[in-house]
């Protein structure tokens, strides 16, 4: 664990900026960085996406394995979501076993996708009680300049929506697209300089306080929430963030759908 020495100065600066409704990179309070999404970029994955938001870059790759269904769910396959934040992605990320941070990241992204019900696990059954598809979504950070949560969630759902079940390779018939019926979108907010902002970059994360991660489905239903880091927030603050997440979620969802039209 490295002890950052600068944060007090950074925090003061962020506080001043916030008091004037400004941010380090001139964005508005709830303005995200430019988002660039590419699909099908990994030759050995059955579905993939690269997301770039400012200097944050992540990859998502989908692989399929066969599994034995769980005894209590003989007609269902499974979904597994693993996020890795390896040392390649930033000076602060040291080598070693998964940190609590990366475990939280995996699990929050996983819950957002899983709980939206976008993947019908009964569609993954091959032989009831014997064999089913396990979908494995691997999220990989290339460059971490803040807000890996949203980048991972966006790359993840995009890669899934572009994935093909490799039935031929397993001698199980013709390849077919993985059916993904919804497009859950995560929007993350962090308290910086006393107020919540959207899409914090690396410096804002370093000098910020608590984070709130909201995953909403196509119909604005809530599928996953998570509060992280030290700090307390009010019901009024939360209500505002939910409203913002609905707007931003729709915008990003449309972007994901537009990419598919273009395929």
């Amino acid at each position: 664990m490295s002890i950052p020495l600068v944060p007090q100065l950074l925090r003061s600066h962020l506080r001043e900026l916030a008091d004037n409704d400004q941010r380090l990179d001139s964005r508005a309070q709830f303005e995200g960085r430019d988002v660039d999404v590419e699909v099908g970029i990994l030759a050995n994955a059955e579905g993939s996406a690269r997301v770039r938001m400012g200097d944050t870059i992540v990859l998502a790759g989908v692989k399929f394995q066969t599994m034995t269904p769980y005894p209590d769910r003989p007609n269902e396959g499974g979904l597994m979501c693993m996020a890795e934040v390896r040392p390649v992605s930033g000076r602060q990320h040291e080598a070693g076993p998964p940190s609590a941070e990366s475990i939280e990241l995996s699990r929050v992204v996983d819950r957002g996708i899983r709980e939206s019900g976008c993947i019908d696990t009964s569609d993954l059954c091959i032989i009831p009680g014997e064999k089913a598809w396990q979908v494995i979504l691997d999220l990989f950070a290339v460059s971490d300049d803040g807000n890996l949560f949203d980048a991972f969630a966006l790359a993840g759902i995009t890669a899934l929506r572009n994935a093909t079940i490799p039935q031929e390779k397993f001698e199980l018939g013709e390849d077919r697209p993985l059916v993904v019926s919804k497009t859950p979108i995560m929007c993350s907010y962090q308290r910086v300089g006393g107020r919540f902002i959207f899409d914090a970059n690396g410096r804002e994360e370093l000098g910020g306080d608590e984070r709130i991660h909201i995953t909403l489905g196509d119909d604005n239903h809530v599928h996953s929430l998570q509060k992280g880091l030290k700090g307390a927030f009010t019901a009024a603050e939360f209500t505002e963030l939910m409203e913002e997440a609905r707007k931003k979620g729709e915008e990003l969802r449309n972007m994901v759908h537009a990419l598919e039209g273009g395929n």
């Binding site: 939206s116 019900g117 239903h221 929430l225 998570q226």
Partner: protein
Amino acid sequence: MGYGDVEMIDANGIRNDGRKAGDVRPISIELGVVPVADGSCRMRWGTNDVIAAIYGPMEAHPRKIQRQDRAVLDVRYNMAPFSTSDRIRPGFNRRSREISKVTAEALESVVMLELYPRSKIRVEIEIICAEAGTRCVGLTAASVALAHAGIPMTDLVVSVASGKINDVVVCDLNKAEDNYGEADLPMGVLPNTGELVFLQMDGDLSPEEFQEAWDYNMNAAMVIHEYCVEALKTGRYPQ
């Protein structure tokens, strides 16, 4: 999410354990259950049985974990091997790591860490018997144990999870409701300000359902807060 023929709530709005939608399960609290600790609390809540123990403030070891301007909270949430229907293997566990992290962050929001630079406070949460909502019981018990240890805090943290079952929003899910339910919203509330320091959710809630579950949690937290205050005065609740 299918739950077949299981009838979780009857036509009169009575749940499978006899509660109404907004009711909390029976709760009892006992302090000093770990005599060698600096503070401790046992919380039974439904058939949940949870022990929280506090050690410290003590010198933080090794030195690289020390902070110059505050204490560090070292929080561990753990399920005992015999706490669930299927035995749990001891050892590393991604779920426990995540719950430990968010529990620590909730408690850091109220403990006056700046009073103890360079030191460490250990918060040990052991789930002895699990029903549903163990993370909420553990967080609440830990905040009571911290108070019992005399650690200065700006407020207690009271945590409870409401959710949705059979399309009905209900307060404080029990085991069957958690297994067959459609959503789970655990929150950690500061009773004095109504602020939140802990929030998770998974499942499916419409905006209206979400608000209903939120309100159940807020109300329940105030009730449970009374129990905690009572226990801190006399060593146990109920008397």
